[in-house]
Symmetry: C2
Subunit: 229 residues, 2 copies
């Protein structure tokens, strides 16, 4: 038997915590838990979503394909985050693809459960609104970063972001391992450029690597680089 939303700790981190006991029961009855392997899609750009995904475990990249065939990663969503809200709320096709960058466990919640609560429970709606306001602020920050910072600064920032949001493993490597291509797609640059800068960082003792894994060696210097010294 599957676990119930009412007891799910993940809920504490997202807007579902503003649901009443009854609403939560209804969500729990209608939800479906799925396992998504690294590299698999949750959904693709342009799809019509019939619900949202609540992330129990693992990480998904939200990305958009540009005209020149390159992906831009707009956000990395992890444990406790709800994916697909925007598209369900505005009843539009998704503008982003969601692909697992590590093995994931997600709960699919049909949109009916969400929409119903959105119309009846202002606390829930307000909570969702607050989350979206936060996402919007972050998106604005990304815009400013991409247009005003150098690739080097953005890569340094990405590593610090990865450390702060996903932590490090026992050996001191970033817990979330992204391919060089994914890194370049987060930062918005050519893969070769990203690789070159990673090599440079390694040479200068800012980071160390082992295969595709990256560990931060000199956080202070990385921070200074982001700030523009």
């Amino acid at each position: 038997m599957e676990s119930r939303c009412e007891n799910c700790i993940i809920r504490q981190f997202n807007s579902l915590r503003a649901m009443s006991k009854e609403e939560l029961q209804q969500v729990s009855d209608s939800k479906v838990t799925k396992k998504v392997k690294k590299g698999e899609h949750l959904f693709e750009e342009g799809e019509k979503l019939n619900g949202v995904y609540c992330v129990r475990n693992g990480v998904s990249k939200l990305s958009k394909l540009s005209a020149n065939g390159k992906d831009q990663i707009v956000k990395l969503a992890t444990k406790g985050e709800v994916i697909g809200q925007r598209s369900v709320i505005s009843e539009e096709h998704t503008n982003l693809s969601a692909i697992a960058v590590s093995d994931m466990e997600v709960c699919f919640i049909p949109k009916e459960s969400i929409n119903h609560t959105l119309q009846k429970n202002p606390n829930f709606t307000l909570e969702v609104l607050r989350h979206m306001a936060h996402d919007l602020k972050e998106a604005d920050d990304v815009i400013v970063n991409i247009s005003q910072k150098t690739v080097k600064q953005r890569i340094a920032e990405a590593f610090l972001y990865l450390k702060n949001n996903f932590g490090e493993d026992e050996e001191g490597f970033l817990a979330l391992t992204l391919s060089r291509e994914d890194i370049s797609n987060v930062v918005g640059t050519a893969t070769e450029s990203a690789i070159r800068i990673i090599s440079e960082f390694k040479k200068n003792g800012l980071i160390h690597t082992s295969g595709k894994r990256i560990g931060i060696k000199n956080e202070r210097k990385l921070l200074e680089m982001v700030e523009g010294f």
Copy 2:
């Protein structure tokens, strides 16, 4: 005597339309109408907002100062849009400055009126949520554009955007005249680069200019440029 929100046509374009008659009366009683001259601030980055601004007339740029001293314009807000919602909702200081790029008339609505309705009227909250979802989608698009398109493409796109959103005057110039610096800040490039490309567009017959005013001459070619031909 001032005009009442209940009769304001602007309201049809924004989330205020989801308010009940009583709520709207309350908003109308507490609102203050202000005139803001071109170049003046509505508010500055980092300020704490005590309410939102409903734009009756004119245009405001929402921008963020980057570490290297350049502004990045994240959005142009015009008639019918509500500015400052995000910050009021998440009860944070603003992350953006709002400066009038043309003479404006705005209504300042104290946050109490907004917050009260947000907690009581799920329709209103949902409406605000939909608007924010839309803004978030647009922000994602901007991210992809900035990181994947060339400056030339982005400037072409900006001109088309200005035409579609603000129209043209009788003489065939874009109705919203931005300084070259503002254009470069929308696009995320150096002012000189923007000017250079504007000259090139003029030379190639894509646009014509008169002082700082810009008129679109060959929309089809601009569009093709945006698409990457």
